[in-house]
């Protein structure tokens, strides 16, 4: 290559690096039951729990992921609808690519799908309605799904089903969650099923499967069960 072309290539390389210098940021989601990792279909408090609590399914949508610095949004993840599914393991990852210079002190995300996306018709990928997170009988996404059994449930097979969704006022169940996060290569977020379930009397509240005020209340409680751990 001749010198001018070499210089041109070097310039291009420098410009492209300056324009799009990115670094990876991994959001690690840890699904827990108290201090333990969440395992499905096994008694969660053996020996101490006469309720014989098991979880058979936990799935939820995370969307609208943003990074904040001193309460200002400094990064928004584009096209980000992430479906967490405990049947794939209790540690899941949301890999992001952010500008190298990005500094943040908090992460913010929604638990669920926003109303505009809810009315946008059929979508694909993580939003495909065949993934079991879409109500067929009344259009709309299920933001958060938790299913399991507990002896105290007076239902068939002692089952409880929490399918939390709804996007129209007053049954808008989407929740915005903000957690502390430091600038580094990873953010560690916990969802603690025990924190969520212990606020519920399963003998009374065990089937919530449509948009309602109860669903909104439970969604608020689910949001509060998310925490971040600093490294």
């Amino acid at each position: 290559m001749s010198l001018p072309i070499k210089l041109f290539c070097i310039c291009l390389l420098l410009i492209s690096q300056w324009a799009t210098a990115q670094r990876p940021l991994n959001i690690g989601l840890n699904l827990k039951y108290g201090v333990h990792d969440l395992t499905l279909n096994t008694p969660l408090e053996p020996g101490t729990d006469s309720n014989n609590l098991t979880i058979s399914a936990l799935k939820f949508y995370i969307s609208n992921v943003k990074l904040l610095h001193k309460n200002q949004v400094v990064f928004t993840a584009l096209n980000g609808f992430f479906l967490t599914d405990a049947s794939l393991g209790n540690k899941q990852n949301i890999p992001l690519s952010i500008p190298s210079t990005c500094e943040f002190d908090a992460i913010q995300f929604d638990l669920g799908i926003d109303s505009l996306t809810n009315v946008a018709g059929v979508l694909g990928g993580n939003l495909d309605p065949t993934l079991g997170m879409y109500w067929t009988w009344q259009s709309g996404y299920i933001n958060f799904k938790l299913e399991g059994t507990a002896t105290v449930c007076p239902t068939r097979n002692n089952a409880f089903n929490f399918h939390l969704g709804g996007y129209q006022t007053p049954y808008n169940a989407i929740q915005t969650i903000k957690l502390t996060a430091t600038s580094s290569q990873f953010i560690s977020i916990q969802f603690d099923v025990e924190k969520f379930l212990h606020q519920i009397d399963l003998s009374l509240t065990n089937q919530v499967m449509s948009p309602s005020l109860v669903a909104v209340k439970l969604a608020t409680m689910a949001a509060q069960a998310f925490t971040s751990t600093l490294p």
Binding site: G121, G124, P129, T136, W137, S139
Partner: protein, 344 residues
């Protein structure tokens, strides 16, 4: 010769003036703008054919016996005639009368209670309803993936053989969007190609004075939910729209259906309680106008002479669109299914 050219030119001008086309569906210029967002699902003839195959294919049901066409038959303007409540798999009787399918691009929501808010997701409801098709959408996808004909149809429509819920539903929407009814005698009159006879004209006046406030031209529905004074059937206890919105003022409100092709979509109302149009008209002329929550449009008592009733029915018959009901493009696609069924 000059006259023929002159007439031909006028004909072309008239046709293009009164029809705009999205390429694959004809939309009269006197129709309002469609609300369906075609940019998210642009029409193609291959996708329409795929959707048409899916519409007529009982593979969507648990035991391969029920297709969309089982309750939505073309010769009834895609309604389910002869049954007050539609029946599905294993002859299970459902809770409502299947509505006619036409002019769907102009609808903001679907079903008698508007529970479905987008055409693309409507098919999920009958597929998963245990009284209708009793199937799981994932199982449907699996059956399509392992079928002899669908991989090729998906390839032709989408450029690769990936079969997903999104693609299946969008293809079905495309076929359903082509079901446009706009060639009844009424439409010919609107296009100045025909005229009402004296009786139809009188009926049209009765219609405009009493019915058009909810059954608004040219779609013959204003797409709202109304309580039209039907007494609740205590064997069904169907409260309509309130079951979706939980708003008490929506109690006993049901979607205003279109009156197009009404002569062919009996029986009438969400539970098919009226077998004839004459019974429907009598319902409206004998309403208890003081009942709670009755639509305000119906609170003034409706009085019609028997001549006016007959005239009104004559007008309603002008909404029959034979072109729609005999359109070959909507038929069972035997060329796609030939060789896959037990018959030749």
């Amino acid at each position: 010769m000059k006259l023929k050219i002159y007439i031909l030119a006028i004909g072309v001008v008239l046709i293009s003036a009164f029809q705009t086309s999205l390429g694959l569906i004809e939309i009269p210029t006197y129709f309002p703008k469609p609300v369906y967002d075609f940019s998210k699902n642009p029409l193609s003839s291959q996708k329409i054919q795929l959707g048409r195959a899916l519409f007529y294919d009982p593979i969507l049901s648990r035991n391969q016996t029920i297709s969309c066409a089982s309750c939505h038959s073309q010769f009834n303007a895609f309604a389910h005639s002869d049954h007050a409540l539609s029946h599905g798999i294993d002859d299970k009787v459902g809770t409502r009368n299947a509505p006619a399918l036409m002019n769907l691009a102009w609808k903001n929501n679907f079903m008698w209670d508007g529970a479905i808010h987008h055409l693309d997701v409507q098919a999920l409801a009958p597929i998963s309803n245990p009284l209708e098709m009793d199937e799981n959408i994932n199982q449907v996808i699996f059956k399509l993936q392992t079928s002899k004909i669908y991989p090729a149809l998906f390839y032709s429509a989408f450029g690769d053989t990936a079969i997903t819920g999104e693609r299946m539903l969008k293809a079905m929407s495309q076929f359903m969007l082509t079901l446009v009814s706009s060639q009844s005698k009424y439409d010919s009159v609107m296009r100045h190609e025909a005229t009402f006879n004296a009786q139809e004209l009188k009926g049209y006046t009765v219609f405009k004075n009493n019915c058009a406030v909810c059954h608004t031209e040219p779609l013959f529905t204003n797409e709202t939910f109304k309580n039209n004074g039907l007494t609740v059937d205590t064997t069904l206890n169907d409260y309509g729209r309130v079951m979706v919105t939980h708003n008490p003022t929506d109690s006993f409100k049901f979607k205003v259906p279109t009156l197009r092709n009404i002569a062919f979509t009996y029986p009438y109302m969400h539970d098919g309680r009226y077998q004839s149009l004459s019974q429907v008209i009598t319902h409206y002329t004998s309403l208890n106008t003081t009942q709670k929550n009755l639509a305000k449009e119906l609170q003034k008592p409706l009085v019609l002479t028997s001549n006016q009733k007959v005239d009104l029915m004559a007008f309603l018959l002008t909404l029959t669109d034979k072109h729609f009901m005999f359109n070959q493009n909507y038929f069972y696609p035997k060329e796609i299914f030939s060789g896959t069924t037990k018959d030749k």
